[in-house]
């Protein structure tokens, strides 16, 4: 007998109207049936796999959008704050104000509400829920990344950029070769943290129909009337993903710490 035969047999027994038969099913047989139902019946594991693929894709897209937005906003805000008194650029002032509004609104409203507004109000006619979700997550992440980057730029000793400028390097060269590499090293732990949060928050886009891991897990729950295995299973998948990325981040940090050796 193959696994599927045991599954059929024991499920019959569990559903039997005869109390004697139903009670004769042991706990591990029941465990097997539910596990089989959640992951193997009808090759359901493929749906989880598809969900993981979409989750990673959405994370990557949101991360790309978030990092680009974050860098732009952080650059605008630090450039604005670093202007010499008396030589303020009015255009930069306006852009800085827009950036401030963006960060305030995004950080001041729940992610769930943002996703619902994007999916059901702004892009209510779009059928591509997954992409709308990725875009929302990216915009949301950008505000947090901007603050992380701004913190990193501010944490750096002002003497570093003064040294660069005193050698005749321009603002952009000083940023590119001196400030940003050092700031990047300093913010990597916070950035990793933001990345992990982003990875897990992709699960929220399922409420507007984004087809990622939780979306499929929920479908399976509705199909099988059994919640524990699909949900605990997805939790484990998220945990494994996070562990992998934490490990990768640790490796990157060790590489960047090369210049710290004494």
């Amino acid at each position: 007998m193959g696994l599927s035969d045991y599954f059929e047999l024991w499920r019959e027994m569990m559903l039997s109207r005869d109390p004697g038969v139903a009670d004769s099913v042991t706990w591990w047989q029941e465990f097997f049936v539910r596990f089989y139902q959640a992951f193997l019946e009808g090759d359901r594991w493929q749906q989880y796999l598809r969900g993981v693929g979409v989750t990673l894709l959405v994370t990557a897209m949101a991360l790309a959008i978030g990092v680009v937005l974050g860098i732009v906003v952080a650059m605008v805000r630090t450039a604005h704050d670093q202007q010499r008194p008396g030589r303020r650029n009015p255009l930069l002032g306006v852009v800085n104000l827009l950036c401030k509004v963006y960060v305030t609104v995004i950080r001041g409203t729940p992610m769930m509400v943002q996703i619902m507004i994007m999916g059901m109000v702004i892009f209510s006619s779009s059928r591509n829920y997954t992409m709308v979700g990725a875009l929302t997550l990216g915009i949301n992440s950008g505000a947090y990344v901007a603050e992380i980057i701004r913190g990193g730029l501010m944490s750096l000793d002002v003497g570093q950029s003064e040294a660069g400028r005193s050698l005749g390097l321009g603002y952009l060269d000083t940023m590119r070769f001196i400030v940003i590499p050092q700031a990047f090293k300093a913010i990597l732990p916070s950035l990793g943290n933001e990345f992990i949060i982003l990875l897990k928050d992709t699960s929220l886009i399922s409420i507007i129909g984004g087809q990622e891991l939780v979306y499929f897990a929920e479908n399976i729950v509705n199909r099988t009337f059994e919640a524990m295995f699909p949900l605990v299973g997805s939790a484990c998948i998220y945990l494994v993903l996070v562990l992998i990325f934490t490990w990768l981040q640790g490796k990157l940090e060790r590489r960047l710490r090369q210049s710290d050796r004494r």
Partner: protein
């Protein structure tokens, strides 16, 4: 070479430099001394516009730095600066610290810059540290590298902002030695320092600052032997 006219600088309500005028000629080694808070560092930092003057004008080699249209990066390439806390770039090797600016500003190509850096490093006895990172160096070594880094741009004037104040006493000598050699080669130098021995030996002129003004100045031997102002006498009696 550097002409300062009616320079004032205030941070908020606090007036740090008070209508200061001074001229520095090529080849001079001007040493600025004075109590902390007297504005001597601010004065030095105004010379390459790390601080923006509140009023007054600064002219360097015929260029009016305080003109808003001036390309300050161009001017700074000709003015080396050495900081109290070295400010080496910790994310780069010593060699890259030195070659970054000459290469990026187009002053030299990579090979030229490297040869120049090695020549300068050999002179200060640190050629073996070319591939080390700043974190692996002692304070005295860092400051000598910082001087080399500024020198690699072939500046016309070198500004020193308390270059030995953050050093262990036993490392002060090696840094002053490098500065002394630089002075002998004829480099124009403006040095803010508390090293009175250095001021006396290397300086061609000593300025005493207090309260944002230059209270007194003279050739070093006369300055230390016969200070005139009561404030100068008081200061020297405490530090000598």
């Amino acid at each position: 070479m550097i002409d300062v006219k009616h320079l004032s600088k205030s941070f908020g309500d606090h007036l740090v430099l008070d209508d200061l005028s001074e001229h520095i000629s090529p080849g001079e080694k001007v040493v600025i001394i004075g109590p902390s808070g007297s504005g001597k560092s601010t004065f030095l930092r105004c010379l390459n516009l790390l601080e923006t003057p509140s009023s007054g004008s600064i002219t360097f080699d015929g260029t009016v730095l305080t003109d808003p249209k001036v390309n300050i990066d161009q001017v700074r390439r000709k003015m080396g600066m050495v900081f109290q806390h070295f400010n080496l770039f910790p994310n780069m090797t010593v060699l890259r610290n030195i070659t970054l600016a000459p290469v990026r500003t187009g002053l030299m190509d990579r090979n030229e810059a490297q040869a120049e850096a090695e020549k300068l490093l050999r002179r200060v006895g640190l050629l073996d540290k070319a591939n080390a990172y700043p974190a692996q160096l002692s304070g005295g070594q860092k400051q000598r590298i910082a001087i080399v880094r500024a020198m690699a741009m072939r500046p016309k004037v070198m500004l020193f902002d308390e270059p030995t104040s953050a050093l262990d006493p036993e490392m002060v000598g090696e840094v002053l030695e490098v500065m002394r050699e630089l002075a002998q080669e004829g480099m124009t130098m403006v040095v803010v320092t508390h090293e009175m021995g250095f001021a006396r030996e290397v300086g061609t002129r000593v300025l005493f600052m207090d309260g944002g003004r230059i209270l007194e100045q003279d050739e070093p031997h006369a300055f230390f032997a016969h200070p005139k102002q009561p404030r100068t006498i008081e200061f020297l009696s405490k530090v000598l």
